[in-house]
Amino acid sequence: MAPLNPGRSRTRQAPIPTAAELEQRLLAGETLLAESPTHLLEVVGVLESYGEVLDAYSINLVYQAEKQFLNPLPIFKFLDGDPSLARIWKHLNHDRINFEYAEYCQKAMFWHGTGGLDAYLDTDAFRQSCAAIIRCKTRRDPLLGLLHPLFPDFLIELIRSAATTHALGQFWRVMSDLFLDLARAERDGRVGSIAQLVNFLMDGLVAAAAQPITYGVEVAGQRFWVLPPEAALTFLVDVAVPYVEAVFLRGMPFLGTVSFNAQAQQISPDQSRFAYGALYADPLPTMGAGIPPSLLMQDMYRHLPEPLHHWYRQQGRGEGDVRVKICASFQKAMFCVTNAAINGTFPHPLTSTDLTQQQANRAYAAAWVGRLSHARTDCLSDESAAEDGSRS
């Protein structure tokens, strides 16, 4: 089948590893991202700033899901419950975190809808919970009381969306702590290479893998479960993997960057073949109008650790194109997180000598490589750091 984006390969800045090379690296336990001090500086630094930003995103998503639940006009949803004049002024003055990016990720997860969380949202148990919540809510809210009989699926869909919002908030809570721990570990000397960094992330993911994902709301003084403990939803399989699928891999075509011509088959009619996620994104068009990652880059720019900020100032246009450089580093970091997730979910240990287990591992690696081989793997090589700007 023809590539979905024929012009995209021309925007790559460094050699692209072949699928066989990538598979070999995964099976040999090597990192996808090349070892280099610059890469370590970039990935640790950008993940530290990402950790700070995710902390704010997580707090806000949890706040929205719990305190703005079924609010038909959530105009203060980004204020985290502090509608003071000073906070509103800072918000209007754009001296704030761009929570819109968090919502974009939530919408991507909700729309692509993969994994255990999405499956639970279609169960009878969930519908019964929703019915109880809506009964209680509509008794006290005349607007919703009017809306619900007219559009009986509307409030259920809003609750589904709120459930995804809360789950993403919980996921990012773990990831934020993990990334900030990573920065501390690097400063303490416990992480000194890309391989150690990937292992650190893998250990963190594995440690949190079985963490339960639950979500309850309070309506009129009554407590209701939306995602009850009985649903047995867990961090890794039910939220982390769907998040990676929706945000890292599939994503959504960004309006304003490229004309996606659906009639010319430039957009796959099969949603599962979408490849507009973070691992496929062109780092250059950041800061164009209406492009969500640019909001994240702006947020990370406000929390850059000094060593990385200093390094960015030495490259290319210095502060002038700093968001593009953050985006390039961020993409490398996301490959490291993906790398850690793959390493942590191999069906069998890579050291296994059992042929069947080796074959299963190979099949697992091949499935991943099949998707990663046409991602922006040009950022993985050692040359990519120079290409991002230092030769300007």
Binding site: T11, M287, R317, S392
Partner: protein, 504 residues
């Protein structure tokens, strides 16, 4: 008063050349900028002294020179020439400001810029035909040197072509002036209109034809335009600014001052054909611009098209159309200078002007966002969007010419529409989309490592943009300045008809 506008650049150029000791590029440039600032200040003083309510020549200066030849040093200014003198002062300053990379012979370079500016002032202010011719020819050699010494790879070809065309232009103009003196027997070479009582219509038409071809080469009008795209392509950015912004105006000025001014009756006879010629020039220039792949050639062909409006307006010779011609000369001077500056910036940063190579330069982080934004304003102004100088001039030209030559005017309006077509093609290809400069080897990665352009380099372009918008929003100042002169010119055919007792 007016002589100072010749003395400042000429003596300045002489001073730069004769200054003892070594002078670095920056020192020479600063000295030239100081002289040109003084010239601009003096031109603005002229503006204050000028009385717009008077339609005739003002602030006249006259010194007998070689009386036996009819050569008299006689200067004067009216509403037709004053705006052009101001444009000359402003754009030469812009040109010198933009000349930051002249590593070879900077003294000669800036001296030549000053000589051109002085010669252009002289041509606009001359009230004697021979004196005009002297200044008209005087700017030729410095410009030829500027292209042939500081030009691009094919500069020798372009400079020689320019020299041959413009020399022929000068020859025809001189022949017409001498012919006029010969057949009328009046060798004072003054700007007095010729009456049919003095000269038969056939002779008038022949002399007018020689002048038309002479100035048609300079403007340039189709089919005498082929030197211009080559000259622009090979000239450096500051020289292109001067060439498009100021030197082409010598041709259109000559058209109004000498063709219409000296032969108003013959002009009225030839006018329908001139309107057709104008429409052909507009359409040809616009269609040729659409076909271009080099940004500079596209802007150069747009000049060919836009200068056709001046011929159309002059052919109609109504008060409104002649005012439109004046507006068009000023607005085209500013807009084309702006566009050439910006194209030069793109070339200096990316190393190419090829529309098939450049993409997405509006990228805010790694592209040229300010250059792109100013370019969009510039092309909008050139396409005649309301609120900018181009709209006022085109509206006046079309409004003033429509009744006289409806078909030619409508054809020219189509040309105006085509301006939007080729400039939107340019903006769409070069500035929109994903930032990319195609590498020399096909299939290689796209180059996105462009250096940033410092704000200070954009200063002239920003000033020109402001002027273009200012004239578009408040055109009455320029209109007040020129209205009396252009209205007086439009009366020539009727007045002469009344004098000679024939209908116009």
């Amino acid at each position: 008063m007016l002589s100072a506008l010749l003395a400042i650049p000429f003596l300045g150029a002489l001073g730069l050349m004769l200054w003892p000791g070594e002078l670095s590029l920056e020192k020479v440039r600063r000295a030239a900028l100081a002289l040109l600032l003084l010239q601009l200040a003096w031109s603005l003083r002229l503006l204050l002294l000028f009385d717009p309510s008077c339609g005739g020549m003002q602030l006249q200066e006259s010194i007998p020179w070689i009386e036996s030849l009819g050569l008299e040093y006689r200067l004067g200014v009216d509403g037709l020439s004053l705006p052009l003198v101001l444009v000359n002062a402003g754009l030469t300053l812009v040109s010198a400001y933009a000349s930051t990379t002249v590593t070879q012979r900077p003294r000669l370079y800036f001296a030549l810029l000053l000589v051109i500016s002085g010669a252009v002032n002289g041509a606009f202010l001359s009230l004697n035909l021979l004196l005009f011719f002297l200044f008209y020819e005087l700017e030729l050699i410095p410009l030829w040197l500027l292209i042939s010494v500081w030009g691009g790879a094919r500069r020798a070809y372009a400079a020689t072509k320019f020299l041959i065309f413009t020399a022929v232009s000068g020859g025809l103009i001189l022949a017409a002036f001498l012919g006029l003196a010969l057949v009328t027997g009046e060798a004072d070479f003054s700007l007095t209109p010729v009456l049919s009582g003095q000269l038969g219509m056939g002779t008038q038409l022949v002399l007018l034809g020689a002048l038309l071809v002479g100035f048609g080469i300079k403007i340039p009008l189709v089919p005498f335009h082929t030197w211009l795209p080559d000259a622009h392509t090979e000239a450096s950015t500051p020289v292109s600014v001067l060439l498009a912004g100021v030197l082409l105006k010598l041709g259109t000025y000559g058209l109004l001052r000498f063709c219409l001014g000296l032969f108003p009756e013959a002009w009225a006879v030839a006018a329908p054909w001139l309107a057709i010629w104008a429409a052909v020039s507009v359409l040809y220039g616009s269609l040729a611009a659409i076909a271009q792949r080099d940004m500079k050639r596209m802007v150069a062909y747009s000049s060919v098209g836009h200068m056709g409006y001046v011929l159309l307006a002059a052919a109609a010779a109504t008060p409104v159309s002649l005012l439109g011609a004046e507006f068009q000369m000023v607005s085209h001077g500013l807009i084309s200078a702006l566009l050439f500056l910006l194209v030069g910036e793109v070339y200096a940063t990316t190393g190419t002007r090829d529309l098939d190579v450049l993409r997405g330069l509006l990228n805010p982080e790694r592209g040229l966002p300010l250059t792109g934004s100013l370019m969009i304003v510039g092309v909008m102004a050139s396409a005649g969007l309301p609120g900018m100088a181009g709209f006022i001039s085109e509206f006046l030209v079309f409004r003033g010419s429509l009744a006289a030559f409806p078909v030619a005017t409508l054809a020219s309006m189509v040309g105006s529409g085509l301006t939007a077509v080729y400039f939107l093609l340019l903006v769409n290809r070069v500035f929109f989309g994903r930032l990319a400069v195609t590498p020399p080897e096909p299939g290689g990665p796209l180059d996105i490592r462009l250096p940033a352009v410092p704000l200070v380099r954009h200063l002239p372009a920003m000033v020109l943009t402001l002027l273009v918008v200012a004239i578009g929003l408040a055109p009455s100042g320029l209109g007040y300045l020129s209205e009396q002169a252009t209205t007086a010119m439009s009366q020539f055919p009727a007045l002469l008809a009344a004098i000679s007792g024939k209908p116009a």
